[in-house]
């Protein structure tokens, strides 16, 4: 039911600006879905319907796109989604240990959400931070690198207290050791 989710005039203006970047309206489907997910926290069937109506694109197409891409949430998720990389480099550097530690700590399995709706955990594919393994991403945004149990504890406490992680610049070792003019 799209009446529970609506775009206001400011949203519609933003969406118009997004569409203007492309020669064809349909190209704006991914960025508009991102916009909707940022606003509503997910892109479930009612959000898909809203996007379809707003863009005048068949709902079936929007649904097809949402289900193809892993970052679009087809149903509401926890307030904080912890995406733990267990792929290649993270696998061999303890990614699964971190995942299991978090599962134990939060009392849920990967793919589940805590009963209070605070946290979801997912085991995900390579996030492009392989040199900083093991690592995770918080709700499609900041990366937390070189995970340890202590770091996980602190992250979860911080998130509970409403404190989100900062962007962490992972310097090139050559820059750290070499001359920084």
């Amino acid at each position: 039911m799209s009446d529970t989710y609506t775009f206001d005039t400011k949203d519609l203006k933003e969406i118009e600006n997004i569409i203007a970047k492309y020669p064809e309206k349909q190209a704006a489907v991914l960025p508009v879905l991102w916009y909707a997910q940022d606003k509503f926290g997910h892109t479930d069937s009612s959000v898909q319907k809203l996007v379809a109506e707003t863009m005048d694109i068949p709902e079936a197409h929007i649904h097809g796109v949402v289900t193809f891409y892993t970052q679009f949430y087809e149903k509401p998720m926890g307030k904080h989604v912890l995406d733990v990389c267990t792929c290649l480099s993270c696998q061999v550097c303890g990614g699964y240990d971190m995942l299991h530690y978090m599962e134990e700590k939060l009392g849920i399995k990967a793919g589940e959400t805590t009963p209070d709706g605070q946290f979801s955990i997912q085991s995900v594919e390579c996030l492009g931070a392989c040199g900083y393994a093991p690592m995770l991403q918080v709700t499609n945004d900041k990366y937390v690198n070189h995970l340890t149990r202590e770091k996980v504890d602190k992250l979860i406490e911080d998130l509970k207290a409403g404190k989100k992680p900062e962007f962490e610049s992972m310097k090139m070792p050559q820059h750290v050791n070499g001359s920084d003019k």
């Binding site: 960025p31 879905l33 991102w34 290649l88 696998q91 390579c126 492009g128």
Partner: protein
């Protein structure tokens, strides 16, 4: 190469504070290559720019190693209708984490390279496709693009010339396959990322049916220095057949993992033992995945004298890929590792082609069986038979990328696979 690398000064990402700011970039000769082109249009006609870049032989840093200038020359003559450049910042091949360094530390070098490419191919708009997980880096690049617009390096009548081009960022949403160039175009057009059947090639029918060229981010970052210093200078860096600087993303069991910039053709053992400080905890090296998850793993004893360039790696039976090197120590369980890689490819197969959709599933299932101790020796033959039915039979190269690590690991680490299999004794009839 010997010890030359010790005195190497990075060219793609030099150690200059705040280089991501346009004023700092300009102070360090930034946008000079573009300006010199626009101020001498006779010397730097679009054809001449393409010739120079072709001569430099910048081999695509997205994995396939194709000469960038040669690819540009495939674009047809302009016909007055739109043409596009799509920049590939999908960076989703496991083990690869280098393009984000350019977005973060030297975004204007990439932007300048893309503008020069747009000039040479006479395109109207540049789309930069960046994986959705890189959202913080998309913002960083967008800031740099905004600065470039303010200074009229982008937009209408650039630096007072008749050359105009627009640049947009486009964020993916979690799909490895969208790094494959035709899938990337589908995704940019707002669809599911199903790779297209080739031909037609992108230069004939690309984005919105118009001529399009796709280049990797790092590939384009090499362009300004080629224009500034010439192709012959560029070819003095690294091997003749694979010249230029390379961002080596080194991960796994080394003491100092990270992204390093050195000439192409670095000696692999030098990178492992000296550059990244050797294997951590005093362990021994077991294997190396040289250029992302799809490049066949090499045993430590195969690495003697091997260098990071297309020729040297081909000789030992692997590939340069993205130069995302995953270093594995003696304790690594290769069966577990290859099983996890097969999980990745099964998850990321778009499902269009039967050999890939079914094959990646069977690889995962069979490897899981072996990995959990329920496999039999004959399952190794089954795995190879599945690989045979996948390779070279699909719309895109994902199926090959999924099969190679399995095939070559069974060949190179067979004892480990056999050790995990049940000792089944068959009755002799």
């Amino acid at each position: 190469m010997s010890n030359d690398w010790k005195s190497y000064q990075p060219l793609l990402i030099p150690a200059i504070r705040d280089l991501h700011e346009i004023s700092v970039y300009e102070k360090n000769d930034g946008y000079q290559a573009l300006k010199s082109i626009l101020s001498d249009r006779k010397k730097w006609s679009p054809e001449n720019v393409i010739e120079e870049v072709k001569d430099a032989n910048i081999r695509g840093r997205g994995g396939a190693g194709f000469n960038a200038g040669l690819k540009w020359s495939f674009m047809p003559e302009p016909d007055g209708k739109p043409r596009y450049l799509a920049c590939n910042g999908d960076e989703s091949e496991p083990g690869t984490f280098k393009d984000r360094k350019i977005f973060e530390y030297n975004p204007h070098l990439f932007i300048e390279g893309a503008i020069i490419a747009a000039y040479a191919m006479q395109v109207d708009a540049i789309y930069v496709y960046i994986r959705g997980e890189y959202r913080p880096w998309v913002h960083k690049l967008q800031q740099a693009i905004d600065q470039a617009y303010e200074k009229n390096y982008l937009g209408k009548n650039i630096q007072g010339s008749d050359f105009s081009v627009e640049m947009y960022t486009h964020m993916g949403a979690g799909a490895y396959i969208c790094g494959e160039e035709s899938s990337l175009m589908e995704s940019l057009e707002g669809k599911r990322g199903y790779p297209r059947v080739k031909p037609p090639f992108p230069a004939q029918r690309g984005l919105w049916g118009r001529p399009t060229t796709i280049n990797n981010i790092e590939t384009l970052a090499n362009v300004p220095m080629v224009i500034k210093n010439g192709a012959s200078w560029f070819k003095t860096i690294g091997p003749d057949t694979h010249p230029g600087p390379v961002l080596y993303g080194i991960s796994g069991h080394v003491n100092r993992p990270g992204v390093y910039e050195y000439p192409a053709g670095m000696n692999i053992m030098t990178l492992i033992n000296e550059v990244t400080g050797g294997i951590r905890n005093g362990k021994k090296l077991k294997a190396l995945i040289p250029g992302g998850s799809s490049t066949p793993p090499l045993r430590a004893d195969m690495l003697d004298g091997v260098t990071m360039d297309a020729d040297s790696l081909r000789e030992v039976g692997s590939m340069m890929g993205t130069a995302g090197m995953v270093v594995l120590d003696e304790d690594t369980d290769m069966v577990d590792l290859i099983w996890r890689i097969s999980v990745f490819y099964h998850h990321e197969s778009c499902g269009q082609c039967t050999p890939c959709r079914e094959g990646t599933g069977w690889l995962e299932k069979t490897l899981h069986k072996i990995n959990s101790g329920d496999g039999e020796i004959r399952d190794l033959d089954l795995l190879l038979a599945i690989c045979n039915r996948m390779e070279g039979r699909t719309i895109c190269a994902l199926a090959d990328a999924a099969a190679w690590p399995v095939r070559y690991s069974i060949d190179r680490f067979r004892d480990e696979f056999e050790k995990k299999c049940k000792k089944t004794v068959y009755a002799v009839a």
